[in-house]
């Protein structure tokens, strides 16, 4: 009789332990993130410093004419970082399809490219801390999160995506950094995607908590159609803020002067 009770208790405790382990794994999967800096880990707020909106107007007849996509570039500052030697900024881009992208001719492929560069006005080194999107397998979904662990901004990728992001290679100039975001030209996914988003988190130096004469963010993004048989590329539709094109770059301001 006693043995039976002990077995029941052990079974009960074992089940409880198993539940706790499962809960903890779920906890880690959903809550745990990655971050490259303790400073960002220790912070929590982001402040939206500005936005830029755009439309991509297709007009060459290779795809249905009209607004093919529209989108927004978001500029966030980390509002309560602790390290007075650095400030952190998150730059996010989001496209929403308007129709043109989904009907690329069968003999053609379309592509999107985005480049985000964050410049320091005093030619100090800018560091990329984290960036998304990463390579995504088609027919899988996923969430990309930049700056997890504290200051965060999160995006959802579309279900069908071949998106790839990588840091801008360091050249002889290190006073700018950012990321290249390429949406590879694959017809399968370009026919189905609805919206796309990516973001980069950068760290920039401060002096006693002040950015001083700081730099700016330059964004360059465009859409194109490529005929796979003729090699003919038509329809380059750039949206640019001073990266080889129109407009002025976004000037970031110090969200936390003195910190």
């Amino acid at each position: 009789m006693v043995i039976k009770i002990n077995r029941a208790k052990r079974l009960f405790l074992s089940v409880n332990s198993l539940i706790i382990i499962i809960v903890y794994i779920v906890f880690i999967v959903h809550i745990g993130g990655v971050s490259a800096t303790n400073d960002v880990f220790s912070t929590f707020n982001v402040v939206l410093l500005g936005t830029r909106t755009f439309t991509i107007d297709v007009s060459d007849g290779n795809v249905p004419s009209g607004i093919a996509a529209h989108g927004t570039v978001f500029y966030w500052g980390v509002s309560n970082e602790i390290d007075k030697n650095y400030d952190y900024f998150i730059i996010g881009i989001k496209y929403v399809r308007s129709g043109g992208f989904g009907f690329t001719p069968s003999n053609s492929l379309g592509g999107l490219m985005s480049i985000v560069k964050v410049y320091d006005g005093l030619y100090r080194t800018v560091y990329t801390i984290d960036y998304e999107p990463v390579f995504k397998v088609p027919l899988t979904s996923g969430t990309v999160t930049v700056g997890t662990g504290g200051a965060y901004v999160s995006f959802s990728l579309e279900l069908h995506g071949y998106d790839y992001g990588d840091p801008i290679p360091l050249s002889y100039n290190t006073y700018y950094d950012g990321f290249n975001w390429r949406h590879y030209y694959t017809k399968a996914d370009q026919d189905w995607w609805n919206k796309k988003a990516g973001a980069v988190l950068v760290k920039v130096p401060e002096v006693n908590g002040y950015l001083g004469n700081w730099g700016e963010v330059k964004v360059y993004l465009y859409y194109y159609v490529w005929n796979v048989w003729t090699g003919y590329v038509s329809g380059w539709y750039p949206v640019s803020w001073n990266e080889g094109g129109q407009g002025t770059p976004f000037k970031l301001t110090d969200p936390t002067p003195g910190n």
Binding site: S17, H70, V96, T145, G150, S154
Partner: protein, 255 residues
């Protein structure tokens, strides 16, 4: 308006002198010479000027940042300038659905110049889901929130009585109204955005008191694919797990 700024200033000063000291944000339409109530979305037109007066506030809010939300029609952009009383440009934007970050504003008169057809709304910063606003409302107030990628928002309003009436209005990124409903007393509800594919990354929530009402307001996103990473939560979870596991293990061994 641009031809008679002094006259407008005098009219505005007379009006302000007659008003109380709560937060006041007024716009004066140049043609009709009418006064727009505080924190109200304004339809703006080509080459128009609007005067705004910002006074001291006594609300409890995490950050006293001001935003100017700007929206166009059907993705048509408009150019908006935000200047000080002397006409010095402080911020500007060209957009069909964006914001101007104004930061903390000193009390005083500010000017909005509009070059295009659209809508603008002044809003206070309540963008983080855990932000709490607390204050007694006599005039409408508008908040900017950022339910990025969320399917909707959960709204919680606690009032100090059960009889005060107020209206909640919700505007999307293009400053188009997508919700309006009257309530009495405390309320808590989910609101799912009517168009999931469109622009719900920036939302403006306007609370219009129909009676003077003291409120406590907070919000959080619904079904957002947001990963909240926090090392403290991670460590807490780890410690909790280890502690419980050890206790259970000792209990099993003790049998």
């Amino acid at each position: 308006m641009k031809r008679h700024p002094i006259l407008i200033m005098i009219l505005l000063s007379i009006f302000l002198a007659a008003s109380d000291n709560s937060i006041i944000i007024y716009s004066v339409l140049p043609v009709e010479n009418s006064i727009i109530p505080p924190f109200t979305p304004i339809n703006v037109s080509e080459n128009m000027t609007y005067f705004i007066y910002v006074s001291e506030v006594s609300y409890s809010i995490p950050r006293m940042n001001y935003y100017l939300g700007v929206g166009g029609y059907n993705y048509k952009t408009l150019y908006i300038e935000f200047t000080d009383q002397e006409g010095r440009l402080l911020k500007n934007v060209t957009t069909w659905g964006g914001i101007i970050f104004l930061g903390e504003l000193d009390p005083g008169i500010y000017i909005i110049n509009s070059y295009g057809i659209g809508k603008v709304v002044l809003a206070l910063d309540l963008q983080s889901p855990r932000d709490i606003f607390e204050g007694e409302l006599h005039e409408p107030i508008t908040f900017l929130i950022t339910p990025f990628e969320a399917e909707g928002i959960h709204i919680v309003i606690n009032t100090n009585d059960t009889v005060s009436r107020y209206r909640i209005e919700i505007y999307n990124q293009s400053v188009d109204k997508i919700f309006s409903e009257e309530y009495v007393g405390s309320v808590e509800f989910d609101f799912y955005f009517p168009d999931q594919s469109e622009w719900n990354d920036i939302i403006y929530i306007r609370i219009v008191p129909l009676d003077p009402v003291a409120i406590k307001f907070r919000w959080y996103p619904l079904n957002a694919d947001v990963t909240i990473g926090n090392s403290l939560l991670y460590l807490f979870g780890l410690m909790l797990f280890v502690l419980v596991f050890i206790i259970l293990l000792s209990m099993v061994k003790g049998r």
